[in-house]
Every structure is written in structure tokens, then in C-alpha cells.
């Protein structure tokens, strides 16, 4: 009754700051808005065991992007599901209402559905499903703050949470995104860069096995640009995998202490 007309005050102000040409996002000297060089990743913070109620969990912070992933199981599958020789992976991604600059609405959005599906596809190849037949492992992610590259951060964080829960995997999955602005390739793009991008590339891989679990390409790409982009992503994924590995080692050594 009172809120018949709700104008989105914050939306207008946000648009002003985001709608800019690519020239504003990267200086002629090749320095990005946040002071990074084009092929530099955002500072990352990873931590396992963020949620005590879960079997395994992880918190990841890549610049302004902040996510929590909890893993439950392996536990009983839904009664309605048919018998299965191998285990099931059930993924769900949701956004907190205050994740973006405009307040989100409750209920599953199409974006959440899409991300859930993508998360499943990205992890499916890495998890040894045959080790937990008939049961389900649930991977739930909550994006607390959306700051660009949400899906790759969720993917990396989820694989860390799976490892924390002791689910058998072939390797950790690390993922990174890359945005193409004109001819510039910007690694690990922020939200502002993503909005203005001409093309994007997301790569999820098992770095030590040199296998790709997911590759997502949008926009128009030249052969040269693409191969350079892939190389950049693979390189960054390998570095990220190293960071994830040391995070896991740290958490186990803490327990021993």
C-alpha cells in the first residue's frame, strides 16, 4: 500500500559510473582502473572451513567478488530418483539480495539457474562419482557480493569446498575469466570491465592433469586473440591451482597443530 511506486534510486547512480568507453577502463600505458596490468589477476583470498554446519566449505574473495560454498554429503538421494551406480552431484547457486547494486528479489532467477547448471558441468568431470554410489553430494553456493567473474570464483571455491569435505576428485578445478575489450585482453575482469566487454572467455581446468573441464566463449574472437586468451587463462589457472593447494595444506597443518 505504501510502496506503490518504488523508484530505483541506486540504479540510476550506478549506471552513470559503469557506462564508459573502453578507453576509460584501460589507460594508454596499459594500466587498468584498479591499477592492475591487463594480464594480472585480482588479489585473491581463499579459506576452507567457513561453515561449521557443512561437511566441507570454503570462502573465496577475488577483489570485490565474495562467495561462500558449502558441501553436504555424500547423503541419501531423493526418494523419487531412480537407482544409480554412480553418485550424484547436486549444485545450486544463489545470490544474496544485497549482492548487486540493485536489490535482488527472492526466488530463483534465471541467472541462478544458469549458474547452477554451469557449476554442475564444470565440476562433474573432476569428481570421482563412482566413489559414492547411490548417494548425492550437494554443492551449494551463495554469492555475497557480485564484483565480476562470479562463475569462475564459485567454481574454484566449490572445488576447494569439495576437497575440504573429503570428496574424492581427480584434481582441483581452478577457473578464471578473461574479457576482450576491443583488442585488449583483460584477465580476471571486474564488473565494470565485464559490462563493457566485446567478448568473454571462461576456462575451468584441472591444472596438474592439463585437462579442461569447461570452456565458455561469448562474442566474436579472432584466431590469434583466442589462442592468446587461452594461453593466458591456462597460465592463470595453474597459478590459482597452486594457491588453492597451499590453502588446503595450510588448513590441514592447522588441524595437526
Amino acid at each position: 500500500m505504501a510502496a506503490s511506486r518504488v523508484s530505483s534510486y541506486s540504479l540510476e547512480s550506478q549506471r552513470v559510473s559503469l557506462a564508459r568507453g573502453s578507453s576509460a577502463l584501460i589507460s594508454p600505458e596499459g594500466v587498468r582502473e584498479d591499477g592492475r596490468s591487463p594480464h594480472e589477476c585480482r588479489p585473491a583470498f581463499l579459506q576452507t572451513g567457513a561453515v561449521n554446519a557443512a561437511a566441507g566449505s570454503a570462502y573465496a574473495e577475488f577483489g570485490q567478488t565474495k562467495v561462500i560454498v558449502s558441501v553436504f554429503g555424500p547423503r541419501e538421494s531423493k526418494k523419487a530418483q531412480a537407482y544409480s551406480d554412480i553418485g550424484r552431484l547436486n549444485c545450486n547457486v544463489s545470490f544474496a539480495t544485497f549482492a548487486g547494486s540493485v536489490r535482488g528479489k527472492a526466488g530463483q532467477s534465471t541467472e541462478e539457474k544458469e549458474y547452477s547448471q554451469m557449476l554442475y558441468k564444470g565440476l562433474e568431470g573432476a569428481v570421482a562419482l563412482h566413489t559414492f554410489p547411490k548417494t548425492t553430494v550437494d554443492v551449494f553456493a551463495l554469492i555475497l557480493q557480485s564484483g565480476g567473474g562470479d562463475l569462475p570464483v564459485v567454481l574454484s571455491c566449490a572445488s576447494l569446498a569439495l576437497a575440504d569435505a573429503g570428496i574424492v576428485m581427480y584434481d582441483l578445478v581452478s577457473a578464471i575469466s578473461l574479457s576482450r575489450l576491443d583488442t585488449n585482453l583483460l584477465l580476471d575482469a571486474t564488473l565494470g570491465e565485464e559490462i563493457n566487454q566485446d567478448g568473454s572467455l571462461m576456462l575451468a581446468c584441472m591444472a596438474s592433469r592439463n585437462e579442461v573441464t569447461q570452456l565458455l566463449l561469448t562474442g566474436e574472437w579472432s584466431q590469434a586473440n583466442l589462442s592468446e586468451g587461452l594461453k593466458l587463462c591456462l597460465d592463470a589457472c595453474t597459478k590459482l591451482a597452486g594457491l588453492m593447494r597451499s590453502t588446503l595444506k595450510e588448513s590441514t597443518s592447522n588441524i595437526e597443530d
Partner: protein
């Protein structure tokens, strides 16, 4: 005393974990008899409490509360609304408590947890009875525009006493809330203060401000055993004892409400009075923690402005 030392006293044959799962009540009672709780704290003590404010840049006010393992994240987002005809100079606060699937193995995505509406209602009730925020503070231009504050409290980790933590996060987020500087035109259009003043005539600037807060509500949940009262129970204690009493007061111990939704154990008048006393003690403790967190935030503000 650590869990390992207890394991030895519990019995040679039964391992601690098995005993804990098979005989949860006996497990708990063994601890209580010695005057400690399974997590090592004394009977009448709440878990360590942490409040940090201003952690969400997209929200105009935010707070994170950790009560032992129970973690709450609250964020306030503002929108402009047209006030109702009956209360032309009042804004609104809409509180929603959310339990996303990450917080507990008992919550499934897409299905609302049983506790979500219960905690939401209790927070709304506490805010309105304590009159913590005068809704007229949210006024922009009487009859034309006012702030609508959406307050979402997310449970990130659920380990008992959810209402206590959620209410604390709510109060801290509202204390952290800063109404932005805006410009109002004659016909009640609200614009960001930075927008071009030339276009609109007779703009009025409204300075950014924090809300004046009245009495700040708090909750103390107590799990009730026929012989013991355990303030601030963990999820395990809540599940074993099945009976809780939640006392809602302000920091000075002034009672607003007493909430006991059924349960297996009856509460006598003396139990109720004991809970009042525990809440009064907890109020003093919380007031210090709360004030420190909020004052810290204000000091940060001052630094930025300099």
C-alpha cells in the same frame, strides 16, 4: 576441559562419538553434572560474540555477527518510495530473515526453512515494540518521498540461537546505516546529490546522516532442561533438549517479550525469572560489544571524511 579428557571418563568401551550419537541426552547430562557444557564453557555463559559493521560495499548499512559458530550477515538497501497517506512523514523498514541452503544440512534450496518466517516475525516484533528506529527518521519530503529500507539478514552458518544472532545483526546494520546525501526537487523527485543541479529548479539538498536509535532490542535464547538452564545453546543442545525460552529485552534488561514455543519441558515461574536474570546479565555484556563495534565504525567514517 577438552573433549578428549571427557571421553576417558565417559566409559572405556563406548567411544565418545558413538555415545554422543546413541545417547545424546545422557551425553549432555554427563557434562552438565560437572558444571560444563560440551563446548567447554561454564553453564551460564554465552559464546564469544563478534560484531563487525560495514562489510558490504553495495549495502548502505551492513553488519556481520558471529555467535560461536552461528554467523549472520545483515545488509540494508535503500529505495525511494511514496509514503502512505496515513503516515506521510514515515518511511518503512522491511525485515527478511533468510536461511540459504549453505547454512545447514537441514535446509534444501528452493524450500523455505521452517524457522525462516519464525525468526523474521520475531525480529519485526522486536523492532516495533522496542521502537528502536523512529520511522520519521526515514522521511525525505513529507507526503512525496521517503526511504524504504530493505533489511535482509542471511544466516551463513547455523549453530543454534539463531534469533539472538539475527537480532544483533539487524540492530548493528541499522546502527551502521547511513542515509545518503540526496537532492529533492519541488515535486518530490529524489536525485543523487552529485547529479546536475542546473536541470532541475529549486532543488533542496539533504545531508547524509545516521539514524538516531532508541532502545536497542536483544534476545537471549535459553535451552531448558528440567534441572538446568543453558543460555545461548548450540544447535546440538537445542536439538537434544527440544525446549527453548527466548527472552527479548533491551540492553538495560527491560523486558519486551517472552517467547516459548511449546517444547517438552514446562517452564515454572522461577525458570522464567532465572531467564530474565540471565538476559539482564547478557544485556550488559552485549552492550559493550555492540557499542565498541558501532563506535569503531563511526571512527572509520571520521577518518575517511578527514
Amino acid at each position: 576441559m577438552t573433549e578428549h579428557e571427557h571421553a576417558a571418563s565417559v566409559g572405556e568401551d563406548v567411544e565418545l562419538e558413538a555415545f554422543r550419537r546413541l545417547y545424546p541426552l545422557e551425553f549432555l547430562e554427563k557434562f552438565l553434572k560437572d558444571g560444563v557444557r560440551p563446548d567447554g564453557r561454564p553453564l551460564g555463559r554465552a559464546r564469544s560474540t563478534l560484531i563487525s559493521v560495514g562489510s558490504l560495499p553495495h549495502a548502505e548499512g551492513s553488519a556481520m555477527v558471529k555467535l560461536g559458530n552461528t554467523t549472520m550477515l545483515a545488509g540494508v538497501k535503500l529505495e525511494v518510495m511514496t509514503p502512505s497517506v496515513d503516515f506521510p512523514d514515515e518511511g518503512r523498514i522491511v525485515v527478511d530473515f533468510q536461511m540459504p541452503a549453505i547454512c545447514s544440512p537441514h535446509v534444501r534450496p528452493g524450500r523455505q526453512s521452517e524457522l525462516e518466517p519464525v525468526v523474521s516475525e520475531q525480529i519485526r516484533n522486536a523492532l516495533s515494540s522496542s521502537m528502536m528506529v523512529d520511522l520519521r527518521e526515514l522521511n525525505i519530503a513529507p507526503g512525496k518521498a521517503a526511504w524504504m529500507a530493505y533489511l535482509d539478514v542471511y544466516c551463513l552458518d547455523s549453530d543454534g540461537s539463531l534469533l539472538d544472532a539475527a537480532l544483533l545483526a539487524t540492530a548493528a546494520a541499522l546502527a551502521d546505516l547511513k542515509l545518503p546525501e540526496v537532492a529533492v526537487t519541488d515535486d518530490g523527485k529524489v536525485l543523487p546529490a552529485s547529479s546536475d543541479v542546473q536541470e532541475h529548479r529549486s532543488l533542496k539538498n539533504i545531508q547524509s546522516k545516521r539514524l538516531k536509535l532508541g532502545k536497542i532490542p536483544m534476545a537471549l535464547t535459553c535451552a531448558v532442561h528440567p534441572k538446568y538452564i543453558l543460555p545461548d545453546p548450540t544447535a546440538e543442545e537445542e536439538a537434544i533438549l527440544k525446549t527453548t525460552i527466548t527472552v527479548l529485552t533491551d540492553f538495560s534488561g527491560q523486558l519486551f517479550s517472552l517467547y516459548k514455543p511449546g517444547g517438552e519441558v514446562l517452564a515454572s515461574t522461577s525458570t522464567v525469572q532465572d531467564c530474565f536474570a540471565l538476559a539482564k546479565y547478557r544485556g550488559k555484556e552485549l552492550q559493550k560489544i555492540f557499542n565498541n563495534a558501532v563506535i569503531d565504525a563511526e571512527a572509520d567514517d571520521a577518518m575517511v571524511e578527514d
